[in-house]
């Protein structure tokens, strides 16, 4: 019986981990196909998650996502991290997001925040703006702007999280 309760406990603990949605405001955004989804459907799955606010016309944003893309396979293999790219392109460019992302072979999960509703609620002023969440969906770090090489610093933090270490307060 003890064993049974224990195994149930493990299963339940596992369940709470995998079903953990990110600690972000609940706002309706669109997936890359234009379907309305709730931002609460973005989940942490027990692994670190990066949310990057970007736009097709934002050069530093595209530089950052291109730089991450070059090592994304290694990042995922080593830490299980998931990068979510949230485009704030409005209807001038939002239809371009899918061909833009596919044309560059990006592997990110991409959403469109067409009227900046999520951006506003998350206090994002200028883009790029990057958020890092731990495996429980808790926000642990955020950064505004992009300097080449920032992605390496971000990855060091992701590795720490993946090892179960905590980050110093930022």
């Amino acid at each position: 019986m003890k064993k049974f309760v224990l195994s149930l406990l493990v299963v339940f603990a596992g369940f709470t981990l995998t079903a953990q949605s990110l600690d972000i405001p609940e706002v309706t955004i669109k997936d890359i196909n234009g379907k309305q989804v709730s931002s609460s459907s973005i989940e942490a799955d027990g692994k670190p998650v990066v949310i990057s606010f970007w736009a097709t016309w934002c050069k530093p944003c595209v530089r950052e996502l291109t730089a991450i893309d070059e090592s994304y396979i290694d990042w995922q293999d080593e830490t299980g991290v998931k990068v979510i790219a949230i485009s704030i392109d409005d209807t001038r460019n939002s239809a371009k997001v899918a061909p833009f992302v596919n044309g560059r072979n990006w592997e990110y999960e991409v959403y469109i925040d067409e009227n900046s509703d999520l951006r506003r609620m998350m206090g994002v002023n200028n883009i790029p703006h990057t958020f890092l969440f731990d495996g429980n969906g808790k926000l642990v770090y955020q950064h505004n702007g992009y300097a080449q090489g920032d992605e390496d610093l971000l990855y060091e933090m992701i590795q720490k999280l993946a090892r179960g270490e905590t980050l110093e307060a930022h």
């Binding site: 603990a13 209807t91 899918a98 090489g149």
Partner: protein
């Protein structure tokens, strides 16, 4: 940094009970109950920005007289605060313009709370009272939004209700008055929108996704003109669709508006129409988009006499590429609400690493072509006063207009050459109708002068290098060269600094994650007016720590045009020092 931001919908009682039973069995009841009883004081977040500018008089670039502020120093900024607790949310924004910086709409003068709202979610309802931003469909019928950096904000002050009675059906209703700088519009805006996801609603379609939507928007503004019998209520409707099937996606929206005489359309009593269509095909390493648009008399504002940035209800997306390299960006395009036909195609191709064109690291190529012109207009005879005043002109959907507004062919090649060097090469061929896009001259006036508008033809070459020096230190350079061919009057040459051949060099040195240093110079060596062949040097330093950014610049900034939706604003040239501070908390 816990952020209980979510407007949590409480799970139904039965589910809650079940979860409790599972939790008890699982032995984690104590955890659950702790979460239930932990005191929740909510969470406060926000951001802040300050822009200060110390101006120097500089007669060479025209920064004197009315283009030089008496105050010498101008500063402005804002702070946003958002508070969330459970399913309740509220926020405020304070803005100050003391006084408004050069190039911003001058109506921003003073300080105050410009944005405040309260919102809660209950029983599937999402209710906002106070200020809100909103968009229906593509925004062609209604869009409240902000472009903070350009001084654009047309948000609503009123009530918004969103309701999702069943999965796949989203309903919205809005009622409010729009922001007009530090005032509010005289007009009221009422709107309803519904979006139907047929797959979710009817278990329909299999792998093909169908989304339909429809909106109705009306505005009310009292009228007491002694000349015209102006409509006080103006209604508009729009319908939209989106179909996604595998690699293909099609979407479109059609809008119709009843007669709405306004300053923008010369007070004609003509209906408005608009159609936007997007088609895309994309697969791994390849993306294609085709866009077409036709707009006829579609300026829609909550005040009929308003112009420029004041109180537009809708947003007409330009179907041209938005350029961010400095020299091609000197010729921006904005949708012409009075009438426009536009077409755009863009192709993105990624050549895989290891392939002939891909080389060791892969190559990305982007081609883009766009064109915008007038719609076909057949003007009523001057003797037919009734139709001339009422309708203005006759049109035909299947005939092209004969005034070219804008044409742009461009391509960009992105290539990583080795571990430490990335290169972008771009070419931009832009034809720019100066009279329409810079001066706002109407089709009628251009035709009256024999359809010989001032035109600028430009070729721009851009070479950008990103060089890795060490793992934290990078050098980025941009070399841009623009060759122009002007077909403009002497008056335009005398007036405008933005003309003629020029070259630009930018060098940026960054030390991640804290420092940026950049210097740039634009040398307008080919201006037809010898006195305007000037250098525009500019230096900047950025210090960044986390989400806080300090940016200082010193030097000359060229005059420029900034466009939002269907309106553009001319920003005069400046010389001086600026400081910007932004932060989040």
């Amino acid at each position: 940094m816990a952020r209980p931001w979510k407007l949590t919908k409480q799970p139904p009682a039965l589910v809650k009970k079940l979860l409790l039973i599972i939790a008890v069995i699982g032995g984690s009841y104590s955890l659950w109950s702790q979460e239930e009883t932990a005191p929740d004081y909510g969470e406060l977040t926000g951001n802040f920005q300050f822009d200060g500018y110390f101006y120097q008089e500089d007669s060479a670039i025209g920064a004197f007289g009315s283009n030089y502020p008496d105050e010498k120093f101008l500063g402005q900024g804002f702070m946003n605060l958002n508070y969330t607790r459970g399913n309740f949310r509220m926020g405020v924004r304070y803005e100050n313009y003391q006084n408004v910086i050069q190039g911003f709409p001058t109506e921003y003068q003073g300080e105050g709370i410009t944005y405040r709202y309260a919102q809660f979610v209950k029983d599937g309802l999402d209710i906002t009272a106070g200020n809100f931003y909103e968009q229906f469909g593509s925004g062609m019928i209604l869009r409240g939004y902000e472009e903070r950096g350009l001084g654009f904000d047309n948000m609503f002050d009123g009530v918004r209700v969103k309701y999702e009675p069943i999965k796949g059906l989203a309903l919205k209703g809005v009622l409010g008055r729009q922001r007009k700088f530090f005032e509010k519009s005289n007009g009221l805006v009422r709107g309803l929108d519904g979006e139907f996801n047929l797959n979710e609603l009817m278990g329909f379609g299999g792998n093909t996704q169908y989304i339909l939507g429809g909106s109705f928007v009306s505005k009310y503004e009292a009228a007491n003109s002694p000349i015209y019998n102006l409509p006080e209520n103006v209604g508009a409707g729009a319908g939209r669709f989106q179909i996604n099937s595998g690699k293909f996606s099609f979407s479109g929206e059609y809008m119709y508006k009843v007669n709405d005489p306004s300053f923008d359309n010369g007070y004609i009593f003509r209906k408005g129409e608009g159609l936007i269509f997007n088609g895309t095909y994309s697969t791994r390493g390849f993306g294609l988009i085709v866009q077409a648009k036709r707009i006829d008399n579609l300026s829609f504002r909550s005040e009929r006499d308003a112009s420029f940035f004041a109180v537009p209800i809708n947003f007409l997306p330009p179907t041209t590429k938005f350029h961010t390299y400095a020299l091609p960006a000197l010729f921006p395009y904005a949708t012409q609400p009075r009438g426009e036909m536009g077409f755009q195609v863009e192709l993105t191709k990624n050549f895989k690493r290891g392939s002939f064109l891909g080389g060791k690291y892969g190559t990305t190529v982007v081609f883009n072509y766009s064109v915008a012109s007038s719609i076909y207009k057949e003007y009523y005879d001057a003797t037919d006063t009734l139709n001339l005043v009422k309708e203005g002109y006759k049109t035909d959907w299947f005939k092209a207009g004969d005034i070219l507004y804008f044409q742009d062919f461009n391509f960009l090649v992105k290539k990583k050459l080795n571990r430490n060097l990335k290169m972008n090469f771009g070419y931009y061929n832009i034809t720019y109708n100066y009279d329409v896009l810079n001066k706002g001259i109407s089709d009628e006036d251009i035709v009256a002068k024999g359809n010989k508008p001032n035109m600028i033809y430009s070729h721009t070459f851009v070479l950008e290098n990103q060089i890795k020096l060490t793992s934290r230190k990078y050098l980025r350079t941009e070399l841009q060269w623009q060759l122009t061919d002007e077909d403009v009057s002497q008056e335009v040459i005398n007036d405008d600094f933005n003309m003629g051949d020029r070259v630009m060099l930018l060098i940026e040195y960054s030390v991640a994650p804290n420092w940026f240093f950049a210097i740039q110079d634009i040398y307008n060596y080919g201006h037809p007016d010898v006195a305007k062949r000037l250098n525009y040097p500019l230096a900047s330093v950025v210090y960044q720590v986390g989400t806080t950014r300090f940016q200082a610049t010193y030097g000359r900034q060229q005059a420029g045009i900034f466009c939002v939706g269907g309106v553009c604003r001319l920003v005069p040239a400046t010389n001086g020092a600026s400081l910007t501070i932004t932060t989040n908390f």
